[in-house]
């Protein structure tokens, strides 16, 4: 992706903690206005990457730019951030708390207070304004946390595992908020390891594993590029027997069947014919890969390729 269209860009970013290379020469480009999914297993380096964008930890190497400009403390105020580990001052009054967060995020005092009031109204919490945070239910506190992250009307919002700990209703509300922000042209970056959510929400995604981006692009691109045409095959034959059939590129054993990836240049009927010729088949059909499979496949191959 070219520099001009990227809203947030990471170029060759690395971060090492002792002997652990948490982020390894990572390159990312988040297009303006996109809902961007940062995906990957636990420990892949998602949170470290996000913390580097927020300048909570600084990268050992590489550069991070916002609108093409080096991201410094001042530019950082255009970003809204909801960390995975999040909380509130329990004894503080709700309105005071939101206004404080507004000020911390760079709003002038009066504006921070006005903004806080507006958000409480929007969340239906205006009569809780002078209550202590600890008197709110957990769901209400989560709403306040979200409001605190975006109170300064940022042009880009980063949400680290935003859905963990949310009940289905809160999850729905947060998805609506994300959609509403996207509709207003705000760029949204969120990390998750729950893939169906990513599939539902994001336009562009990046799969991170062991500190590196192993998949990057729009959902359709990734599907087309990565999910090789595959067949779902039920057979009593072994994995090894399947692998030697002409036109088969890779075989993955699942609980009750196999996923058989086809080599480039061959068609499905050709492979089905070859399979039927050599093996007893119970069932065969075309397979549409889910993001979860692409993800698992990519992570597995990543291990194989670097070992």
């Amino acid at each position: 992706m070219s520099q001009s269209s990227a809203h947030l860009e990471l170029a060759h970013v690395s971060k090492r903690y002792g002997s652990l290379l948490a982020v390894d020469d990572l390159c990312l480009a988040v297009p303006r206005g996109a809902v961007y999914g940062l995906l990957g297993p636990n420990g892949a380096g998602k949170t470290t990457t996000i913390r580097m964008v927020m300048r909570i930890t600084l990268p050992d190497a590489g550069s991070i730019t916002l609108n093409g400009a080096f991201l410094d403390d001042r530019l950082r105020e255009r970003i809204g951030y909801l960390p995975e580990e999040r909380g509130l001052y329990r004894k503080m009054k709700v309105l005071d708390h939101l206004a404080f967060l507004g000020e911390v995020r760079g709003l002038p005092r009066g504006q921070a207070r006005a903004s806080a009031k507006a958000w409480l109204e929007r969340l239906g919490l205006e009569e809780k304004a002078s209550r202590a945070v600890e008197e709110l239910s957990k769901g209400m506190q989560q709403k306040v946390q979200f409001a605190g992250a975006v109170i300064h009307a940022p042009e880009l919002v980063i949400l680290d595992e935003p859905f963990t700990g949310l009940d289905p209703i809160a999850t729905r509300q947060l998805k609506d908020e994300i959609a509403a922000m996207a509709a207003k042209g705000v760029t949204v970056v969120f990390s998750t390891h729950v893939l169906p959510q990513a599939e539902e929400l994001c336009d562009v995604l990046c799969l991170v594993n062991r500190g590196r981006a192993i998949l990057h692009g729009s959902l359709a691109e990734v599907r087309a590029r990565f999910a090789q045409p595959a067949l779902r095959v039920e057979t009593p034959a072994s994995e090894a027997e399947l692998r030697v059939i002409a036109g088969v590129a890779a075989v993955r054993r699942r609980e009750r069947d196999y996923l058989v990836e086809m080599a480039t240049g061959v068609t499905a009927p050709q492979v089905i014919r070859a399979l039927a010729e050599h093996l007893p088949l119970l069932a065969v059909e075309r397979h549409e890969a889910t993001l979860e499979e692409i993800f698992l496949y990519a992570v597995e191959n990543d291990h194989v390729s670097t070992r």
Binding site: E77, E85, Y89, V104, R105, G148
Partner: protein
């Protein structure tokens, strides 16, 4: 980059969220109340321990008994007594069977018929000791009164024996009063109530000790709370940890200064009349010079910053108050040691040991200040003291900020001292 507006935002939150609590006002009002109670109650209770006491005087010398009686009467004339302590004396001549008589007197004491029995032996004029039999031998005020009376009575009797004319006795037995006069650079000589200045030295040093400890602890608890409530990452997304730490320490310190201000106002309006009535105020007004008060605030500020940065680092390094307890104990020891050394300093404030101890940066807020209250140290020592404290403060801020930066985002495991040292090294 250190942005003052961000520090101010944090500071305001820290300050207001504390000053607006009921706990702040309760503790602010409770401390002086407790102090006044400690200072006033014992003497108040003591001065109320009046009443009528009947003391038997067992002596063969009737003239001496009469003399003791007169002395006691003379002593109860003073204005301080205001008739609160009324001692009645009953003269008893020794019986032949002295053992039996003594047993009888003992039972009268036990029956509360007599408060006590003064036994003046025949050889008392030659230095034989006087006995006082009573159920209560720690009644200091009564015993002191009896002691003085017997002493003077015996002295007068001895003088009479040496054929000193009666009219000269009063003159010859007049007591001598020792008056301490402090020699100082500025004033030359200053006469003050030593007792009251000692109490004030103690009280002021104690105040520094207590407030530094309490506010340092508040800082630590504040940092721990930010960690355990997981608010800290929400905030350091827009503030540097150093800005957050600075705002917190200054904000909490400002709460401490506010408390001092309230106490000062209270002291001027309420406590001063109380001190006057106790006769402590004559020295106090001279003692509490503006210079000393300026240094008091300076030493609190330095002491507070020195310890608060350390407390902040301890809070950041650990996950709970229980985990932090060990390090917290070490810190409070640095505060308690000088407190324990107070009397060494008071006894000889200019001895080399006192000077060296008071210049140890972590001890200075208490010990150097204490020296100032007794004998103003030379200027070069004051300069050296503040230079040393400033240098240590700079070093502490660096170390603590390094620990703080790493520690606040570490959850879960309790770090070892080695790991914490590595955090400092890596910055």
């Amino acid at each position: 980059m250190f942005r003052l507006d961000k520090v101010r935002t944090v500071m305001r939150r820290e300050y207001l969220s504390r000053v607006r609590t009921r706990a702040f006002w309760i503790s602010t009002l409770l401390v002086p109340a407790a102090m006044i109670a400690f200072a006033v109650l014992p003497s108040l209770i003591m001065s109320r321990q009046g009443g009528t006491f009947t003391v038997a005087l067992l002596t063969p010398d009737e003239a001496l008994a009469a003399e003791v009686k007169t002395e006691l009467a003379r002593r109860s004339e003073g204005p301080a007594d205001a008739g609160l302590m009324n001692i009645r004396v009953e003269w008893i001549a020794p019986a032949l069977d002295s053992e039996r008589q003594r047993a009888e007197l003992r039972s009268r004491v036990l029956a509360k018929e007599l408060t006590g029995v003064l036994v003046l032996p025949a050889g008392v004029l030659d230095g034989e000791p006087v006995e006082y039999l009573s159920t209560n031998v720690t009644a200091f005020r009564l015993i002191g009164r009896l002691d003085g009376a017997v002493e003077r009575a015996v002295l007068r009797a001895r003088l009479r024996l040496s054929a000193v004319p009666e009219e000269r006795l009063d003159q010859l037995t007049r007591t001598v009063k020792l008056e301490p006069v402090r020699v100082t650079q500025e004033a030359g000589e200053s006469r003050e109530a030593v007792g009251s200045s000692l109490i004030l030295s103690y009280v002021l040093t104690f105040l520094i000790y207590v407030t530094v400890m309490i506010y340092g602890f508040y800082v630590m608890r504040g940092v721990l709370e930010e960690k355990s409530s997981r608010i800290v990452e929400v905030i350091v997304a827009n503030l540097s940890p150093t800005e957050l730490m600075a705002g917190k320490i200054v904000g909490v310190g400002a709460v401490g200064l506010t408390q001092y201000l309230i106490w000062a106002v209270l002291a001027m309006n309420l406590a001063a009349p109380g001190l006057f009535s106790l006769g402590l105020a004559e020295g106090a007004s001279r003692f509490l010079s503006p210079t000393l008060m300026v240094f008091f605030v300076l030493f609190f500020v330095f002491g507070y910053f020195l310890f608060a940065t350390l407390y902040a680092a301890v809070g950041a390094a650990f996950n709970s108050e229980e985990e932090a307890q060990q390090m917290q104990t070490v810190l409070s020891m640095f505060l308690t040691i000088p407190f324990a050394l107070m009397f060494v300093i008071l006894n000889d404030p200019d001895a080399p040991l006192s000077v060296v101890l008071s210049l140890v940066p972590f001890f200075s807020p208490m010990l150097f200040f204490l020296r100032m209250t007794v004998a103003f140290p030379p200027t070069w020592q004051i300069v050296l003291c503040f230079a040393l404290m400033s240098l240590s403060l700079l070093a502490m801020v660096r170390v603590s900020a390094a620990i703080y930066r790493v520690g606040i985002l570490m959850y879960g495991k309790k770090p070892t001292l080695k790991e914490i040292a590595r955090w400092v090294g890596s910055s």
